[in-house]
């Protein structure tokens, strides 16, 4: 069952041999495989997401594989739940995503697909492309952590400690697993003149590694350096205390968007 055409490619792998075949297709260097089950509604949803992504990324090959129908492959890649997504470049597994996280899947596809464009062009161009890619990455979120593994599964003690400190301080951050991309792993060291990981960036500026973050924590500066997760309650508290008199209304002072709000404005204005 192929939906092949100019619009993008979403194929089904029904056997181990077929799967191997698809991985080795010379015209696609990035292959995204969805391990799914027909009885799981999240999987059906994610198949739709895959179809959409296929339209957007015609250079990427999207594959559906029914996990229980092709157990050899599922076992080989230790698929224990559905949906799970694996990313392959040149037949090598480069990334994995567990669960029905459409935004995360989209992000990963974009990220891995964007690095494909690096394979063409002269060495100079490649370097320029890598640098602009790194710049984009360190600016991908107000607070970006480049680490070994993921916040849920750090794969080095320093990265783990970093995540713990950031979480302890309610700091909102996005992360990049440098094990998922050797090019970024090596490139960022040179780009930022910093030889080790984890690396923490705020608005694209390198803050430092774990030692520095620990010192910032000890001196109390960390809370001012990094953007904090605002709890709703805190936000509300801040808002109602913003001025001695606060009016929460429909519209604004100049243009009230409801009669009651308008009347209150008038009353307040009249009392001076």
């Amino acid at each position: 069952m192929a939906a092949e055409g100019g619009a993008g490619t979403l194929l089904e792998a029904a056997s181990s041999a077929q799967f191997q075949d698809l991985l080795q297709r010379p015209d696609r260097s990035l292959v995204v495989v969805h391990f799914w089950a027909p009885w799981a509604p999240q999987c059906i949803q994610m198949n739709n997401v895959m179809a959409e992504l296929a339209k957007e990324h015609p250079q990427v090959l999207f594959v559906k594989l029914e996990a229980e129908a092709v157990p050899e492959v599922s076992e080989k890649y230790e698929i224990s739940s559905v949906p799970t997504f694996l990313f392959f470049k040149n037949s090598q597994k480069i990334d994995r995503l567990d669960g029905a996280h459409a935004p995360e899947l989209t992000k990963k596809v974009q990220r891995h697909a964007s690095s494909l464009t690096l394979s063409s062009g002269s060495a100079d161009n490649e370097k320029e492309d890598l640098n602009s890619r790194l710049k984009k990455l360190i600016n991908a979120a107000p607070c970006m952590l480049f680490m070994k593994g993921t916040p849920h599964e750090p794969r080095c003690g320093f990265s783990r400690q970093m995540v713990e400190i950031l979480n302890k301080h309610n700091i909102v951050f996005s992360s990049f697993d440098i094990f998922s991309d050797e090019e970024v792993r090596q490139g960022l060291k040179t780009y930022s003149n910093w030889p080790t990981y984890p690396q923490l960036y705020v608005t694209g500026e390198l803050i430092g590694g774990l030692d520095i973050v620990k010192e910032l924590e000890a001196s109390g500066e960390l809370d001012t350096v990094c953007p904090k997760a605002h709890k709703l309650e805190d936000r509300l508290k801040e808002l109602i205390n913003k001025a001695p008199v606060m009016l929460f209304m429909k519209g604004n002072k100049q243009m009230a968007k409801c009669g009651f709000s308008k009347q209150i404005i008038e009353i307040l204005n009249n009392t001076g």
Binding site: W194, P195, T196, L206, I207, G209, D211, E215, L216
Partner: protein, 91 residues
């Protein structure tokens, strides 16, 4: 003498003392079993004056750029002589 190529806490200490005109350097081999792939260093140098932490760490990283290629885990603290003196007094 160390066999050439092998890292030792003492060799790192020498590099830092010379490279950063350091007044005080402590190097600890933090490798389990002390097989010299993890180190923790404290460097006290006047060259850190007026420099942010990031710049200080970069200085250390530069001095040890060759060594860092073989080091698996590296922790550092960088203090000016004034900060170091204050810390000693507080003890």
């Amino acid at each position: 003498m160390e066999p050439s190529g092998a890292l030792s806490a003492e060799a790192l200490r020498e590099r830092l003392l010379q490279g950063l005109e350091a007044e005080h350097v402590e190097v600890e081999d933090t490798t389990p079993g002390r097989c010299a792939t993890s180190f923790k260093v404290l460097v006290v140098s006047p060259r850190f004056r007026g420099k942010a932490l990031l710049q200080r760490h970069r200085l250390v990283n530069e001095i040890l750029s060759e060594e860092l290629k073989c080091i698996h885990a590296f922790e550092q603290r960088t203090l000016t002589p004034e900060q170091w003196a204050k810390e000693q007094e507080a003890k």
